[in-house]
Each structure stands twice: as C-alpha cells, then as structure tokens.
C-alpha cells in the first residue's frame, strides 16, 4: 500500500496554508491547555491561521507525527515548515522570533505592517477532504 490519503491530505493542508496549527479541539474550544496557549499566542498577534483538530480521528495524529517526526500536539507549521509545539512557540514569542518567522516584525517598522489580515480562516477538517 503506497497510497495514504490521510497523509496526503495533511501534506496538502500544510502546503496550502501559510500558517496552520494542528491542535486538540478548535481555536474556539481548545481541548488541551497546550493547544489553548498556542492559539492564544497566535490570536494575540492577530495572526490568521488554519486549524486542524486532531481528536476526531486518531489517524490524523499518527500520520502527522510520522510526517513531522514530532510526537506531541499542538504543532505549528509556517510556510510548510514545522516551527514547534507549545514550548517552542512560547519561547519564540517571548524572544520575538515568532513574530519574525510570521513576518510580523514587531519592532522595526521596515516591513509592511500586518494590516488587512484576512478574516480568520475557519478550522479546516481533514476528514472532509477525504
């Protein structure tokens, strides 16, 4: 069996969404403190992001972790790259690196301000894509 629709759907979601968070629960109703904290950081930066709830189907988490070599949830991807889980996102937020990674450039003002951010994307459901 080389076909793996679940993994392909995850890969597609990661490549199609510049900022995507795999989490437990939804941004509105996180089901785990680590996911809740990660969502709160992104929201405090006004960063729109796609979100995938891994809880409805165990295979999402299995395939995601196999793909990313990262065992825990949440997992934040920016431009197709794994940035990290809750601990790393927190550390990077505090040091300003997260803002840089997201292109939000907190201090300088050299970059375009993150104005006109599109309305937050609705949580995306991997299952619905299969």
């Amino acid at each position: 069996m080389t076909e793996n629709p679940m993994r392909e759907a995850i890969q597609t979601a990661i490549s199609e969404n510049p900022v995507i968070l795999f989490m437990k629960g939804t941004p509105e109703q996180p089901a785990c403190g680590f996911s809740a904290r990660t969502v709160a950081v992104l929201q405090s930066l006004g960063q729109p992001f796609a979100a995938v709830d891994v809880l409805p189907d165990q295979r999402i988490r299995q395939e995601l972790s196999a793909l990313s070599s990262w065992p825990t949830i949440p997992q934040l991807f920016v431009e197709g790259e794994l940035v990290g889980g809750c601990d790393i996102v927190m550390e990077m937020y505090q040091s300003g690196e997260l803002q840089q990674t997201l292109g939000l450039d907190a201090g300088g003002g050299e970059q375009e301000p993150p104005e006109a951010a599109p309305a937050q994307a609705p949580p995306l459901s991997i299952e619905n894509r299969l």
Partner: protein
Amino acid sequence: MSVTPEELKDRIESGIPDCSADVTGDGHHFTAVVSSPAFGGLSRIAQHRLVYDVFGSELGGRIHALSIQTKDGR
C-alpha cells in the same frame, strides 16, 4: 506504573551526552529543563527532538505531557 520526575531525569541524563536535567511534575504533566553541550548548533526543534527521542512512544501515553526547555551547555 506511575511515572516520577526522578525517573524522567535519570533517563534524560543517561540518554543525552553530558546532560543535566531538572524535572518537575505531578505524575502526568512534567516540565524538564535540560542542558547539554549536545544542543550546540542545533535548532530548537532538533534540541527538543533529542529529548523526545529518549521516550519515544511513551509520550502521550504513559507520560501524558512533557514540557521541555533546552539550554546549550550545562
């Protein structure tokens, strides 16, 4: 079998070269502050992976949650 911070500390310290770890936790949620020269030059992701690799599939199972902070050096 319950998990103790001491067990996690011992396993991290024997799994990563020249490493010192401080682990606190309540049997389910743990926090580990880990220092090792092995982290030098690695990204945060790679540093955390080294710690996760010590426990493999026990994470999320027997070890419900492990919060990690890594430091280069010891």
